[in-house]
Symmetry: C2
Subunit: 160 residues, 2 copies
Amino acid sequence: MRRFNGLVLPPSGSFSRFQGPLELGLHQGGRRLTPQRRKVLDLFQRIGSGRHLSAEDVHHQLVEAKTKVSLATIYRTLRLLVQLGFLHELELSEGGHRFELSSDEHPDHHHLVCVRCGRTEEFESEQVLQAGKNAADKIGFQLIESTLNVRAICPNCKTI
Amino acid sequence: MRRFNGLVLPPSGSFSRFQGPLELGLHQGGRRLTPQRRKVLDLFQRIGSGRHLSAEDVHHQLVEAKTKVSLATIYRTLRLLVQLGFLHELELSEGGHRFELSSDEHPDHHHLVCVRCGRTEEFESEQVLQAGKNAADKIGFQLIESTLNVRAICPNCKTI
DNA sequence: GTGCGTGCAAAATCTTTGCATACGC
DNA sequence: GCGTATGCAAAGATTTTGCACGCAC
């Protein structure tokens, strides 16, 4: 059950990481830069890359900041921003999807998650990048990105 | 190449003094090996490791095979089997969680997913294993497992 | 002005849970 | 028999969608 409901994919190269002013992508293909979309982008930029928010989180933050926006719009916007490559969608172990800002400074970073307390650390690895590329090449897939999820137990939880 | 891994269940209804790991786990701590649980295990066993089923898939398959079992029980059973380590829970990109049989032959394998059609291929990589271990060691986490998800476009979809 | 985006509420998924009953041990 | 597991249905949690209106362009 694929669901594409109305979200038109941008032209080729759409999966590459975003490289310019954020507004650019949102003005292509008849898309509009609405206040709501701007606020969502602003939020992710303000908190920086490496922070993981759920749709609910984003909505809550914006409402707290007196921005009038519906949860439905958050979902629609997040999906759009992921397709445009501005955000990464994460599926770490527990409870629903999370989103983080794509970053040129920390491309292809990976996540260490403590299975007990949920503490999450990030790291980069040229090895992983290469391994993903090797695997894709071997069967003729065109690589987009790879993410390594490491399940582990953090020092705090180990002592309990 | 052998097709089945070490987690062998004797055929349903047979008496055997051999007790594989599956029975052992399901008999510990007052747990019971019910027909429903056995059927779920049998299913994963039959299709082999490397196949990814959703809870709904499992339910559907069993009902087709004339096994009377409720979806709620499937969810409860899958969660149990994951906790016992007999199944792995996957969170590939599209639509919900999937489960696969844990395998002694293919531990720590990884997934290449086509973002357009959902086709999924598996691979193994010593590099990835090592990278996960390095990262965990570096900040004092105790490694449990690492899984690399590679998002890519498969040859078929590339030509469309 | 055109038609994309939004809000709202309803609907669709997906998953969990309360409770009485069934049954493995 | 004891206590766990199940079925059923209802509740929860999360995400999508139909429709009329609003607003970016």
